[in-house]
């Protein structure tokens, strides 16, 4: 747990960079420090590992005042990842990841095992352990940066725009993978970004800052739909309902499958069995084990078995998909229905474009009623 109590930073020239900021990051939570450039978010983060000294107030990490430690001792217990990554070019990937474990005096083989494990965690092949940073792509380096921050398995992690310097597609991949990792490792994280989308996606909590002050500390949902003042609402922007789509998962708004069709049935048999209003153009087809196979258009299908008429076999997604991603899948595939599946590809529900619209308007109404 990280606690900031009335923390201020006043630089020697009198500039107040951070003023009277207090908030808590609970254990296992990811807190995003968000705000325009120069708002004091990075300074606030750097005070936690004492890269910047505190002028007033105090910070506790796991109940201990950070000034009870030597600064190097403190930093070795807090993972640190930055936008520019800052990998050491003369060290191999493995040596880079092993830096903090080595500083903390871990034995050689324990360090090596840890490095190999972390490489696997960030989805890089094991032979990368002996490569040099210059041999890697930007995205791969960012992954190593995250792995290195987790090197000595710290409970607390500070991340300063860790996915900032890479192309948007790789960034989305890294964000998703990191969220998955975080579900397992449950670190207490302070994550700095200026990107509202990233903040909504990554944060359990968002601390929104402006001009050195904490403007609102809240869940992403409340930041979007219950902004505390006009700065917050203008910062999150007019299309906040769209951003809100990132907060809702497909399984929360999907509709139940009224009618699913077995693949081995013949089309004529099926048509005979169904009432006329059930004969539609988009009915989901499942195998014997409940796995989704595709859709069938009963208005067009004639003769043969159901499995001979499968269409749109790719119009499916995991039910954990967030609505804005579901929307982009629909738009890119020109589909208005997606099949939502569980981890074993079994059909769990259907998500139609109208379901997303409904979720959007509900969020909007909810906001208007405030």
């Amino acid at each position: 747990m990280i606690e900031l109590e009335n923390v201020s930073k006043i630089f020697q020239d009198g500039t107040v960079a951070v003023q009277d900021v207090s908030f808590q990051v609970e254990e296992g939570e990811l807190c995003v420090l968000l705000g325009p450039s120069g708002c004091g978010k990075t300074t606030t983060m750097k005070m936690i590992n004492r890269l910047v000294s505190i002028s007033k107030g105090r910070i506790l990490v796991n109940g201990m005042d950070i000034y009870d430690f030597q600064d190097t001792e403190l930093r070795r217990q807090i993972g640190y990842a930055i936008q520019e990554v800052g990998l050491f070019p003369h060290m191999t990937v493995g040596e880079n990841i092993e830096v903090v474990p080595e500083l903390r005096g871990w034995a050689k083989n324990k360090r090596r095992d840890r490095a190999a494990m972390l490489l696997e965690m960030v989805k890089l092949p094991p032979e990368f352990i002996d490569r040099y940073p210059k041999e890697l792509s930007g995205g791969q380096r960012q992954r190593i940066g995250v792995a290195r921050a987790l090197g000595a398995d710290p409970e607390v992690l500070l991340m300063d725009e860790p996915f900032g310097a890479i192309d948007p597609i790789t960034r989305v991949d890294l964000q998703n993978e990191f969220l998955k990792i975080q579900q397992d490792i449950r670190k207490t994280i302070v994550f700095v970004t200026h990107d509202i989308y990233e903040a909504i996606k990554m944060g359990d909590k968002i601390a929104l800052m402006n001009r050195g002050e904490l403007v609102q500390f809240d869940t992403p949902f409340n930041i979007l739909f219950q902004p505390s003042d006009s700065f917050v609402s203008s910062f999150v922007g007019r299309d906040r309902a769209l951003k809100g789509l990132q907060l809702i998962k497909g399984k929360e708004v999907m509709r139940e499958v009224e009618l699913s069709i077995g693949a081995s049935e013949t089309v004529e048999e099926l048509k005979g069995r169904l009432s006329p209003d059930q004969i539609r153009d988009e009915l989901p087809v499942v195998g014997k084990d409940g796995k989704f196979l595709g859709f069938i258009d009963l208005n067009k299908a004639q003769g043969g078995k159901v499995q001979d008429h499968l269409t749109h076999t790719e119009a499916a997604s995991n039910m954990d998909i967030v609505l804005d991603e579901a929307l982009s899948v629909m738009l890119s595939g020109e589909r208005n229905v997606l099949a939502l599946l569980d981890h074993e590809s079994r059909l769990q529900g259907l998500l139609a474009f109208s379901d997303i619209q409904r979720a959007l308007s509900e969020a909007d109404q909810w906001r208007d009623s405030l």
Partner: protein, 239 residues
């Protein structure tokens, strides 16, 4: 590989010139220098260069590194500027100024060579540290390395090859400048070259100049090898 061939060809040509001129024995009214004299002069020359570069390194590296340290950055401009001035003054003038101040002899020659060769060492030592990506230092600090650990594990290995380049450049410059040392009572191959100049005998000039050039090439090549050996593997990779 082709670079090696070029260097070896050059050396062979220079050696051939020296052998040819020395073998002639007499040119007009003048006697050529003997092998023994050439050897003595080369040895003196080498000694001056090595002593000057060692002193230059002992002064220049700490000085160049010092002005990158917090608290000493105010000295950057005077130090780099001072070293710059040392090199802007023509080498002949630097050497000439030393004679009245320190008297004629080896020590004046050394002081002049040090002053003249200091700039590449100071400047490279300074930039070797300055050019390290600040993100690397920030990461090292944020991960809990102490100042000493950052200096030893990060800055030194990354700065080493650049500092070595400075020492190499300084050495090659000093081999040339040391030709003039004879003017202030030093010794070296300049004695042969200048004799040739005063006698207006091109071949005798060559008898001093060819071994000097050979020495510059050999020392440069040796130091380049050292430099390569000092460069960490991960830094050498080109992508």
């Amino acid at each position: 590989m082709s670079r090696k061939v070029v260097i070896l060809t050059f050396l062979a040509v220079l050696l051939a010139i020296t052998v040819w001129v020395t073998g002639k024995g007499k040119i007009g009214v003048y006697t050529t220098f003997s092998w023994e004299q050439i050897m003595v002069c080369s040895w003196q020359h080498l000694k001056m260069v090595v002593v000057a570069v060692v002193i230059g390194t002992l002064i220049g590296v700490p000085l160049g590194v010092l002005v990158t340290r917090p608290g000493f950055t105010g000295l950057t401009i005077p130090v780099i500027g001072g070293a710059n001035i040392g090199q802007t003054i023509p080498s002949l003038a630097v050497i000439a100024i030393m004679a009245p101040i320190l008297g004629f002899g080896f020590q004046s020659a050394i002081v002049a060579l040090v002053i003249y060769g200091l700039l590449p060492i100071v400047r490279n030592s300074y930039t070797s540290i300055k050019n390290i990506d600040p993100a690397i230092i920030e990461a090292a600090k944020g991960m809990g390395m102490s100042r000493g650990q950052i200096a030893r594990r990060i800055e030194l290995p990354l700065a080493r090859p650049v500092i070595m380049t400075g020492i190499r450049v300084s050495t090659v410059i000093s081999v040339g400048t040391a030709e003039l040392a004879v003017l202030v009572g030093g010794a070296g191959l300049g004695k042969i070259t200048l004799t040739g100049v005063f006698a207006r005998e091109t071949l005798i000039i060559l008898q001093g100049a060819a071994p000097t050039a050979a020495m510059a090439i050999i020392l440069g090549y040796i130091l380049e090898t050292v430099e390569d050996w000092m460069t960490p593997r991960g830094v050498k990779i080109e992508r």
